[in-house]
Symmetry: C2
Subunit: 253 residues, 2 copies
């Protein structure tokens, strides 16, 4: 069985050529030739059935045969903002899994108790693209640079629901999954037109040592709801993935 | 802040001494001495607050101060049967994450398209124990050896719900999460006494190349329901973890 080859090409309908890294993979690994069928994904909701029109030693041109516009499989946008773990491997697999499951945006937070203050988002970006190809996603999740916690809170003025997960017993917490499920139901009842705005979920997950209590209070004062992901004591990366999976289950079409 | 030290001690209330590996960790890494407080978990629903009563160079004895019996945080048993991936690392992290999130049993399946036919369950066992300590779980998930697919189906005669996840479009599939959620609601309505039996979930996840269609049909003929985990194309380990996470959400107290 001939394997289908997926390539990530932003603006695939304007470009006529695979980006350099994709071209090298196409030519040297897959050894594609003129006439071979390929699939392109633009990361913005479209697949393209295409054909290699010219293959040189370093360049791979294509002709689009068919545009396959995709319908979103979930309502609203799912945005995870997370303090990265010391061990980068844990953030990398979390991002891979979140991309497979489906989410829209990831921001890395620099928090008071963060053990990691710098992060190479180019590696994360590569993992996202690879997972997106592997799981045939038409939309590419946005990867944002490390942002100081307070800057994120101050500048995050979306209309959707905003949540902060934490473990402080002295601050009242609601159950995240119950909240996003009920908000989903009420949105569906309230208006069919206004989906994208109100279904948006932004969820914050803290570092290994949790957010500081001041950070939690700051977020709450800025409209974030205080939540728990359940009874289990989860590592940062497991909490991040659980938050994405719960959001996906609550928002899927 | 003094870190709480958790040790896994099967039959902790009968034994008076830490098992050899735990003792070495206690003595050489944590350098515990007589009088130090420790926490034991027996993997069968109990924590024990204890005190080191005697610490020699290789042995660590304890006295139990308090038995802390735990209430389960989910109904019924969650059993994942999965064909292991070629890359063992992927199975290892899945098992770690499933333990953190909470499940009861894992069986590795030898399927027609399995790329891995042998597996060291002792490594998986160690990962389970470590994740159990890290996430403070009182119950230890059972790790079963690799089992041929048909043997598993033939011998799996539990009273709970049984599901097989697959990707064949020619076989009708229901949505796994919707099914287990509705079965949970009907069980709650039907009987409060008979919880453990009917809430049990066994879910099968296939190898990278999926189950064979004959395997899927064999399972269906033996009472397994044909299901999908949703719209996303997931890797084997992501599917396994998703199935556990969905089961946990549907069965949590």
């Amino acid at each position: 069985m001939k394997e289908v080859r997926y390539f990530f090409v932003p603006n695939a309908n304007v470009e006529k050529e695979l980006p350099i890294e994709e071209a090298i993979h196409a030519l040297r690994v897959l050894r594609l030739k003129e006439g071979d069928e390929i699939f392109l994904m633009d990361g913005e909701g479209c697949f393209y059935q295409a054909e290699v029109s010219l293959a040189t030693s370093k360049k791979c041109f294509y002709t689009i045969k068919q545009v396959l516009k995709q319908e979103p499989t979930w309502h609203g946008r799912i945005h995870l903002a997370i303090a990265p773990t010391k061990d980068m491997g844990r953030m990398e697999w979390m991002t891979e899994k979140a991309t497979e499951i489906g989410f829209d945006e990831i921001t890395f937070l620099n928090c008071k108790f963060s053990e990691r203050k710098v992060l190479r988002t180019d590696r994360i970006e590569k993992i996202v693209v690879s997972a997106m190809k592997q799981s045939h996603k038409a939309w590419k999740p946005i990867v944002n640079d490390m942002t100081p916690f307070c800057n994120f809170i101050d500048n995050h003025t979306c209309d959707g629901q905003k949540y902060i997960c934490h473990c402080y017993s002295e601050i009242l917490k609601d159950d995240f999954f119950s909240l996003i499920n009920s908000s989903s139901e009420s949105t569906h009842l309230a208006s069919e037109d206004d989906h994208s705005l109100n279904n948006d979920i932004t969820v914050l997950v803290g570092p290994e040592g949790d957010f500081s209590i001041e950070e939690v209070r700051y977020a709450i004062n800025h409209g974030f709801k205080s939540v728990t992901l359940g009874n289990s004591r989860l590592r940062t990366e497991t909490a991040g993935l659980s938050a994405v999976m719960m959001s996906q289950l609550a928002r899927r079409v």
